[in-house]
């Protein structure tokens, strides 16, 4: 009989033992995968949210812009170049923008702001700032009116906490005001009736209009229909000054952006800053956002942009964020390492016990003539087979949880959700779909098993046959 056949038979001779051993491997793999998926999912989401809402994955810039992001490092953007870039297989849109500093004034209040000029039709292909339009606002009047209606208790209480807050969509209303799923169909219409916010957005044909951040609007005490002044320094030192009527208010992630956000059409911005035909950067939207794809796209595009211009990746543009990501990742790795420590002991313990239990059996086999080497081989095979069984089960078991976590991530409500949103994060705890990290966890668990096997083999060789038989 071949060795592996023997091994296989051994396994099924004592089913209970086999299952227990396989179970320990199964749990190890299962927990490792769930935890890692969870960690990676959270980081991914956090950073992607920031990247997608602001810098995008790739940008076309003047070569000096990355070191000094001033208007004077802008460039003339050539429509031909844009079409060439759009021709790349991975590129979905090119959005030129002109961005610079200005002082915004309304009444007697002034605030330093970042003015971003983009063509709205174009912008909607990539950034979708329109999604951030304020749709609901809990003004004191709205809160009073809502309270007069019948609302679930929790929501009623939270109304007081969040008075004067603005919301961009129903999802955030639901999560922040703790509206349970059964209540949504009754409660949401009430909000639509009392708390809806009149808002507008820029169109490409507009001139003299601006869309501003919610925080800025509150600071300047200027709302839709009011006029703001923008002043500053334009290209090559020209004076920049203009009047703009507020057409819409958006709620941007991160207060630092929200308090300083002014969005004009590209033409208006060019006129304001005396920079005809220019852009400070062009966001390049891509379809495949994996690292490899981005780098390849960058290399391809680098060929066609020529001198004086450069294609920058989100990593180059967000050095600080990257640093933080790495630190987070490392701390996550430490946590997983600790988990593995615990898991390893579980596996060792089980294997050890198994060996102890079968001492008599081994002793018998050796005393009737089986070579220790052959015994070791068979046992090792047994353990590998069990290992694979456990791994397969672990992977299979984790998949439903991972997919569930991906499709319906854990959501927060109330204050917690609001804090997340304030900070620019979606209030969820998501999971990452199977990826190379799956392979890694499996490998590590198998390594643990290998160590356990090595130990066992050593034990076999050191075994004192006579004592073993008498066990």
């Amino acid at each position: 009989m071949k060795d592996y056949q023997l091994a296989w038979r051994n396994l099924w001779r004592n089913r209970r033992r086999t299952l227990i051993t396989a179970a320990s491997v199964f749990f190890a793999v299962f927990f490792a995968l769930v935890m890692r998926s969870f960690q990676l999912g959270t980081y991914e989401k956090m950073y992607r949210d920031v990247i997608e809402s602001y810098t995008g994955y790739l940008q076309l810039q003047h070569t000096d812009y990355i070191d000094e992001s001033s208007l004077d490092n802008g460039f003339i953007i050539d429509p031909e170049l844009i079409s060439m870039i759009e021709g790349d297989p991975n590129v979905t849109a090119v959005i030129p923008k002109l961005e610079s500093f200005a002082l915004a004034a309304a009444g007697s209040r002034t605030q330093g702001v970042m003015v971003i000029g983009m063509d709205p039709e174009n912008e909607m292909k990539g950034l979708n700032i329109i999604n951030r339009l304020v749709r609901y606002r809990l003004t004191p009047e709205a809160v009073e009116a809502l309270k007069a209606e019948s609302l679930p208790d929790r929501t009623g209480k939270l109304l007081d906490v969040f008075v004067n807050e603005s919301f961009t969509d129903e999802a955030s209303l639901i999560s922040i005001l703790g509206i349970g799923r059964p209540d949504t169909s009754d409660v949401l219409p009430l909000f639509r009736k009392h708390a809806a916010f009149k808002n507008g957005y820029l169109t490409s044909a507009d001139s003299g209009y601006a869309v501003i951040g919610n925080g800025l609007s509150e600071y300047l005490h200027a709302g839709v229909g009011d006029t703001i002044v923008l002043m500053g320094q334009g290209y090559h030192g020209a004076t920049a000054a203009g009047l703009y009527i507020i057409k819409g208010i958006v709620l941007m992630p991160q207060p630092e952006i929200d308090n300083r956000f002014v969005y004009l059409t590209l033409d208006d911005a060019r006129y304001l800053y005396a920079a005809p035909g220019m852009a400070t950067s062009a966001i390049i939207s891509v379809r495949d956002t994996k690292e490899g794809d981005i780098n390849m796209t960058r290399n391809r595009l680098g060929q066609i942009t020529g001198d004086g211009l450069a294609i920058r990746t989100w990593k180059e543009m967000n050095a600080l964020l990257l640093n933080q990501m790495e630190a987070d990742n490392k701390s996550g790795a430490i946590m997983i390492g600790i988990l593995y420590l615990v898991i390893a002991f579980g596996v060792f313990g089980t294997v050890l016990m198994m060996m102890a239990e079968r001492r008599r059996e081994f002793g018998m086999l050796v005393s009737i003539g089986m070579q220790k080497g052959k015994l070791a081989k068979v046992i090792s095979m047994e353990m590998f087979l069990v290992g694979f069984l456990g791994v397969a089960a672990g992977v299979a078991g984790s998949l439903p949880i991972v997919f569930l976590g991906y499709a319906r991530p854990l959501r927060f409500t109330g204050e917690m959700a609001k804090m997340y949103e304030d900070y620019g994060f979606d209030p969820v705890m998501p999971m990452l779909l199977p990826d190379t990290y799956y392979l890694w966890q499996v490998v590590i668990v198998l390594l643990i098993l290998l160590i356990a096997i090595t130990f066992s083999v050593r034990k076999i060789f050191k075994m004192n046959v006579i004592n073993a038989v008498r066990a």
């Binding site: 004592n14 209970r16 033992r17 227990i20 051993t21 179970a23 320990s24 749990f27 190890a28 927990f31 769930v34 935890m35 969870f38 959270t42 209040r109 509150e218 600071y219 600080l320 964020l321 990257l322 640093n323 933080q324 990501m325 790495e326 630190a327 490392k330 701390s331 430490i334 946590m335 600790i338 988990l339 420590l341 615990v342 898991i343 002991f345 579980g346 596996v347 060792f348 313990g349 089980t350 050890l352 016990m353 198994m354 102890a356 239990e357 917690m416 804090m419 997340y420 304030d422 900070y423 705890m429």
Partner: protein
């Protein structure tokens, strides 16, 4: 009787017992240490922010934060003080003047927030002075005729007050601290050349040193070249009470370094009476009153009390001012909770398996015991007791190990300086000093030991199901 049998059983099979004990020890260590590391990092950040930057409770005029107008002083500050004094948890109170302005040197100017403090009055409270970089001054201590200002390192760098010069002396220091002479020789052409920014120095180094040398010694060279002219002059400009532009020259009396870049770049501290004189504010007019409490955790309870007592003013909890800090603290707790849950589950399963195996291994022995008359309940109790012993021993061992490790690393610190740039930009120290509250420590250990015990239930029940006759016959 059962107890002593159980105890002897434990030590009879040393390998098995040790494995289970080890598993529990590792579990406790893992949970406690991870918690300590994460906890300390956040606690450090919060403490630093609260004590040095914010204080626990801030009281302003309702409009002050949104308009920073000089005229928005606190009405009836004496009443605020007396309210605060009546709260026993409040340990320190301070009143401040705050003005937005520009700081300039010949290198340029930048926007800052100038805070006028009562230097003697805040002697105990102003812990920011402990962040003074040695050699940059004596914090309002010296006797210059000119007004003094205490500023942050980031601001000093921006205005070229801090610059990088490789003097002969600093080159010598480099040699002494272990930089090879060959490398120091290469730096000779840069001697006494002034670099106004770190970047310019780094560029110059890149031209003279190899990539490897630059990476390895770059930081040390930068530190050695870091220099500062004591008593440098800085001009502060702001609008006075009549909306006229005014200002004066100040001498830097110290530079502080925190882990918060933004705070360092924006904050300038000057003596209160100087600022009052320049701005023309009246006696007893203040923009902000801050209160320090005996403990960070008291803030949740005390803030509402103060809010109620002072309805016309803006009373802010530090969590409301730095919401991101508060969020991170809570977020971390959540992550940790889930992590702990996973660890406990992994631990539980590991123990279940091991104990199960152990039970199966002892079928003959257990069968024997049943055969000679030990009733089921006793068998069950025996196995449970064994588990309890193992878990408790493991628990104590775990507490011991983690206690020692935390004590050591809490002292020497874990060095994450490689990621310091990202961490410090967000206000975190790159040196971790794991700490953990005593109550947490105990709670975790208890939790883990309980897990160990509960995990033994299933195997113990399995033991009961063994048929003594079959068991005796061997497997």
């Amino acid at each position: 009787m059962i107890t002593s049998i159980a105890w002897k059983n434990v030590w009879r099979n040393r390998t098995r017992s040790l494995t289970v004990i080890a598993a529990v020890t590792v579990g406790v260590f893992a949970g406690v240490f991870a918690m300590a590391a994460i906890n300390s990092s956040i606690v450090q950040r919060i403490d630093a922010a609260v004590n040095e930057e914010l204080s626990h409770i801030q009281i302003n005029h309702k409009e002050f934060r949104s308009s920073s107008d000089l005229k928005n002083v606190i009405p009836e500050p004496e009443r605020v003080i007396s309210v605060l004094q009546n709260i026993p948890e409040v340990t320190h109170i301070a009143e401040r003047i705050i003005v937005r302005g520009i700081a300039s040197t010949s290198a340029g100017s930048t926007g800052v927030e100038v805070t006028g403090i009562n230097v003697e009055g805040e002697e105990e409270m102003f812990t920011l002075k402990t962040r003074l970089i040695p050699g940059t001054g004596s914090y309002f201590g010296s006797e210059t005729r000119l007004n003094s200002a205490f500023i942050g390192e980031k601001l000093a760098k921006e205005l070229y007050i801090i610059r990088y010069i490789l003097t002969e002396e600093s080159l010598g220091t480099l040699k002494e601290s272990g930089v090879p002479s060959s490398v120091v020789e290469k730096l000779k052409p840069l001697e006494d050349q002034r670099f106004t920014t770190e970047k310019k120095l780094t560029e110059a180094l890149a031209g003279l040193l190899s990539a490897r040398e630059a990476k390895e010694y770059g930081m040390m060279i930068r530190e050695a070249a870091w220099s500062y002219r004591e008593g440098s002059r800085i001009i502060l400009t702001f609008l006075d009470a009549d909306d006229n532009q005014t200002g004066a020259a100040f001498r830097i009396c110290g530079i502080f370094r925190t882990n918060n870049d933004l705070f360092e770049a924006m904050s300038v501290f000057v003596p209160e009476n100087e600022l009052r004189r320049l701005t023309g504010l009246g006696e007893g007019e203040y923009h902000r009153i801050i209160a320090r409490l005996a403990d960070n955790d008291l803030t949740d309870r005390v803030t509402p009390e103060v809010k109620e007592a002072l309805p016309g003013l803006e009373v802010m909890h530090w969590k409301e001012i730095q919401t991101d800090l508060a969020m991170i603290a809570d977020y971390m707790n959540q992550i940790y909770g889930i992590f702990m849950a996973l660890i406990l589950a992994a631990l539980a399963f590991g123990i279940v398996n091991t104990m199960l195996m152990s039970v199966l291994e002892r079928t003959r022995e257990l069968g024997m015991l049943s055969a000679i008359g030990m009733n089921r309940r006793r068998v069950f109790t025996m196995i449970m007791l064994e588990s309890i012993f193992l878990s408790v021993v493991g628990g104590f061992a775990g507490m011991l190990v983690s206690g020692v490790v935390i004590a050591i690393t809490g002292h020497t610190g874990i060095n994450l300086v490689k990621y310091s740039e990202g961490m410090e930009a967000f206000g975190y120290s790159a040196h971790l000093y794991p700490t953990i509250g005593a109550d947490f420590f105990i709670m975790l250990t208890v939790l883990i030991v309980i897990t160990g015990i509960l995990s033994a239930v299933y195997p113990a029940r399995k033991a009961l199901q063994l048929n003594p006759v079959e068991a005796l016959r061997g497997e």
